[in-house]
Symmetry: C2
Subunit: 221 residues, 2 copies
DNA sequence: GATTATCTGTGAGATGTCTCACAGCATGAG
DNA sequence: CTCATGCTGTGAGACATCTCACAGATAATC
């Protein structure tokens, strides 16, 4: 008889993030809304006010803030400035995140323009197959040849890759990024990427988004 | 005693879509993958093959196809051509959907370029506040002044609005679209829109997407 | 025609997420 | 200081979604 035979479950690996994905998304939204509120001079906010801004429910807001261990005060609500700081700590917004863009085409350029200079995200490098783009600088971001990826990702300590290449090339680019040591991927290509377990891929699928809207638009007539 | 008193539940309103949102999204993905397969000459597909392409599980695929009432055959799998047609029927891809873009700026233009000429989506009109854009035609899509929205949406039978304006203007544009009679909205602005119950809003939030990737990238080191 | 392999269809259970209701407490008023 | 107010923190339950395992079925083989 082997040892540990009667362990019905192996000890749970702690890797599974304590914070649900959806909660992370809402925190990102809360942070933006709260920054706006700060700018208008507000200092405290109630869960039902934040819920109204984020178009969700007050218990949902309280549950989310509870999840990140942030406390408010009865009758006074939550201190906005402290809350923004707390959310910044959870999302990685208190340290700079270096990002690499792959694919400087019709999709990649506007993506770069959108994210350019949004602290604490820094686009440290771009890559493109087309040799004539190598060496050019867009929005403060230098373009390299694809075969320099491993070297540049290591040098610039890039943690995140953004894929904006045609569907047919996306998996190859993804493999290259993973090999280079990237820890997360934002994928604009309309395919699903195969990655090692634990590595996070966030898909932005414009075709799927429109298909969903169209479906529900024709549902509710 | 009133008749039917002992009905424990009132007849369910059929409004709640039988098909889960996530399933709709996966169907959109399946359809694309299957089209590619057709092009390579494949005629039949097994659930585990489609699952591999979509990076999900075989039971998930079978459950999704069961949800739309599509049947395969043991030992032969699913007929690809028929399946594409069945998915096209569920998603609204068997009828043309007229769409309006609001905001022909740095975000709106690439969005228009991306979706241009993708059947069965037709961008029937674009709107922009800037008067100098009125009358111009981009990717076969004519630009109108914002105050013509109600008229044009009715004339072109537009069902879906795409919002690509700055955050501060998004809610006003949304209200205008809803008033004009749009049934679904695809929102690229980094805010949550308040809409009448039942009307579907699909958010594409690029900032949130990057925040989520950054969070998980720093989790799994 | 009988047999076998293997794939589908699906009930039932596991999992994850959201909702509700209310106890507890900090604050402001008297 | 004491009380009343109304907001937070959270357990427990509702709900939705995914996973698993296997019964059933069909095509290929002999």
């Amino acid at each position: 008889m082997r040892p540990f035979t009667d362990m019905t479950r192996a000890a749970q690996l702690p890797q599974r993030s304590v914070i649900p994905v959806n909660t992370i998304g809402r925190l990102s939204l809360y942070r933006r809304l709260l920054s706006d509120q700060l700018a208008t001079g507000a200092r405290q906010v109630f869960s039902h006010q934040l819920a109204a801004l984020a178009v969700t429910t007050a218990p949902q807001v309280r549950r989310d803030l509870m999840t990140i261990g942030f406390s408010g005060s009865p009758r006074r609500g939550y201190a906005i400035a402290d809350l923004v700081t707390a959310i910044d700590d959870v999302l990685v917004r208190s340290v700079e995140t270096a990002v690499a863009l792959v694919g400087v085409g019709n999709l990649g350029r506007p993506v770069l323009a959108y994210y350019a200079n949004r602290q604490p995200i820094r686009f440290a490098a771009a890559f493109d197959r087309a040799p004539e783009k190598t060496g050019r600088v867009l929005h403060g971001c230098r373009c390299y040849a694809s075969d320099q990826m491993t070297e540049v990702v290591a040098r610039e300590q890039i943690h995140v890759g953004v894929i904006a290449v045609p569907a047919a090339e996306a998996q190859a680019v993804c493999d290259q990024l993973v090999l280079a040591g990237v820890k997360g991927i934002l994928n604009f290509a309309p395919v699903r990427l195969r990655v090692p377990a634990g590595l996070h891929v966030e898909n932005v699928d414009l075709m799927m988004a429109l298909d969903r809207v169209a479906y529900f638009a024709h549902e509710h007539r």
